[in-house]
């Protein structure tokens, strides 16, 4: 059994009926991953590539609604990695983009107690 962790879909070449999907799994056993990838090779799949974090770029975007002190939004760390989309009284909506690790680091830094809502795309990736 396996479980899909994230899934993103786009139409990369504007060809009708063709989509590119990036699917991530949490699995440590490489043989198991290879077997799951082989399972996805159905007649309607054009090709499947196995991308690992060392040999490919992984990116995602998160939009985060925070209930946070305005001074913290001006923190150099926050300024460096986020873009403010809007503010309303004590609520700030930020965008953070980059690697999964970067987004996770940002969320850890902010602290769960300040997060009101998150929308997160999941990973889209390309081999180097």
């Amino acid at each position: 059994m396996y479980n899909v962790d994230t899934l993103t879909v786009c139409r990369p070449l504007r060809i009708p009926g063709v989509s590119r999907m990036t699917i991530t799994l949490r699995e440590n056993d490489q043989a198991r991953v290879d077997q799951v990838v082989r399972r996805w090779c159905s007649p309607e799949v054009i090709s499947v590539k196995n991308l690992d974090t060392d040999h490919s770029y992984w990116r995602e975007v998160a939009i985060v609604k925070l209930e946070i002190d305005a001074s913290r939004v001006g923190d150099p760390f926050m300024v460096a990695i986020t873009e403010i989309l809007g503010t309303k009284v004590t609520i700030t909506i930020l965008q953070v983009a980059g690697s999964t690790r970067r987004i996770d680091a940002f969320l850890d830094e902010v602290g769960q107690e300040h997060i009101v809502e998150i929308a997160r795309t999941g990973v889209t990736a390309m081999e180097k």
């Binding site: 043989a31 290879d34 082989r38 399972r39 090779c41 007649p43 309607e44 090709s47 499947v48």
Partner: protein
């Protein structure tokens, strides 16, 4: 020309003669067109599930003939299509090529919960090899040819065409042209590799030559690639014992001196002990199902595994492979046989051991079969099957239903004819027998024996009616 005409034209080009199914509103245009053309034999099942098994029976029986056919079933939308689900899932589990054509509500009302509407593509996707819904009459002919190609190549399986009613009646554009002779399916990601690569063959031969206790697994892939006779030559050349999976039975004669019988939960003592003692398993066209392996972490601990399998997704799924050969069984055996490096070794100690395994239950079974009745004075199933085997000389096509009697047929019938054993294996569908069996017209011996547990006679009532009506039951 319209969609319904092109559908039937394409089926005719694919040499389809029989259509199994049940009529209904959303498929009515196709039936009307069939009446006009008059060149199909339509068999009306008493229930759509029966139609799916009839289609399977035709596909399976014709597999080992010079003219393999694809079984086709035809039903209406909604309940008609949903009644096919068990038969389609069964074909998927047992790798049987089949084409199911279902009527669908008109495109304008799809996804509005229209009368007799069901999401056939959504329901069938995980239990079929591929699903199609042509959305223009121009796509219908191409879709039928592509569907038949997908169903019958690589690992066989069921393919669904869900055809909306308005597309059935839609006229094609005036400039529409389709040349079946020039048609090649455009499926860039669909590849199967019938011919094995050199390196894994070299590694496999090295393992075989080095092995002291090898064992061959004869799976469904041996039957599906018509490799029974070749496997027999291979085992006789190499002197390696062979055990069969449920679906591999009948590929080589059951009483062949190198055959240890069926493996797994319902298998023979000698086959199962051999697996536990073997140092090399050579698995041909099989999927290491849980009824074969039992506890995976204790299964064949001492053995390296060579897995020959046309479906790459089966490799490393349940059992870790030492050498994977992603190819057709027939072609792989051919390459192995022709390789001068492959040696024949007597392996006397291994055979002495196997012969002691064979003695474990031999006398008890022999006595039970000879007496034929149990302690309660009732006939024993194994005795009945053994007697049936003697009467038919093991040559007839055996089609069991599902359950205890099925396992007795697997164990105690002395199969002598290639591809003479059809059972619902993976899905274990009770009631499959009569529908399946009635339409095995192309069976090698021309005679069929269907067996069913006593209490299950009630189950296939709705299916048996079709056979009796058409006078096909032997």
């Amino acid at each position: 020309m319209n969609g319904k005409h092109l559908l039937l034209k394409a089926l005719k080009e694919r040499k389809v003669r029989f259509l199994f199914g049940y009529t209904g509103g959303a498929i009515m245009p196709v039936f009307d067109e069939m009446e006009k053309l008059g060149n199909f034999e339509f068999v009306m099942a008493r229930h759509e599930q029966g139609a799916a098994f009839m289609a399977q029976g035709l596909s399976r029986a014709s597999l080992s003939t010079a003219t393999p056919q694809i079984g086709v079933c035809l039903t209406t939308s909604g309940p008609g299509a949903m009644n096919l689900v068990t038969g389609v899932a069964d074909a998927h589990m047992d790798s049987v090529p089949m084409l199911a054509i279902t009527g669908q509500v008109a495109t304008g009302v799809i996804a509005t919960d229209a009368f007799q509407e069901s999401d056939v593509v959504g329901v069938m996707m995980p239990i079929s090899k591929q699903t199609y819904m042509p959305l223009a009459a121009e796509d219908v002919e191409k879709t039928v040819h592509e569907a038949c190609y997908v169903a019958t190549t690589g690992r066989g399986g069921p393919v669904i065409i869900d055809l909306p009613k308005d597309i059935q009646n839609q006229q094609v554009a005036e400039d529409y042209r389709f040349d079946v002779k020039k048609f090649r399916p455009h499926l860039p990601g669909y590849f199967y590799t019938p011919t094995p690569e050199r390196e894994p063959i070299r590694q496999a031969i090295e393992l075989i030559n080095k092995s002291e206790r090898p064992l061959i697994f004869c799976g469904h892939g041996v039957i599906n690639s018509n490799a029974g006779a070749l496997l027999r030559r291979f085992i006789e050349k190499t002197n390696i014992p062979v055990t069969s999976t449920f679906h591999g039975l009948s590929a080589i004669p059951a009483d062949h001196p190198l055959h240890l019988g069926m493996m797994g939960m319902h298998g023979t003592v000698e086959a199962n002990r051999a697996i536990m003692e073997a140092d090399l398993l050579i698995a041909l066209g099989m999927r290491f199902d849980d009824r074969v392996t039992g506890k995976l972490d204790e299964y064949a601990r001492n053995a390296a595994v060579i897995h020959v399998e046309i479906d790459a997704s089966e490799i490393d799924k349940n059992v870790r492979t030492t050498v994977a050969i992603n190819a057709d069984v027939y072609r792989t055996l051919h390459v192995l046989m022709d390789d001068p490096m492959l040696t024949s070794i007597p392996r006397r100690r291994w055979w002495d051991k196997l012969n002691t395994f064979r003695e474990v239950m031999k006398e008890d079974l022999h006595e039970e079969i000879e007496v034929g009745v149990g302690n309660d004075n009732k006939l024993l199933m194994k005795g009945i099957i053994h007697r049936l085997s003697e009467v038919t000389k093991g040559k007839d096509l055996i089609i069991p239903d599902v359950g205890q009697h099925q396992m007795m047929c697997a164990r105690f019938y002395n199969y002598q004819t290639n591809n003479s054993w059809f059972g619902s294996g993976g899905a274990g569908t009770m009631g499959a027998l009569l529908a399946d069996g009635n339409w095995c017209k192309a069976c090698p011996s021309g005679k069929r024996a269907g067996l069913v547990d006593q209490w299950r006679w009630r189950l296939p009532d709705e299916l048996s009616g079709t056979g009796n009506h058409h006078g096909k039951a032997d």
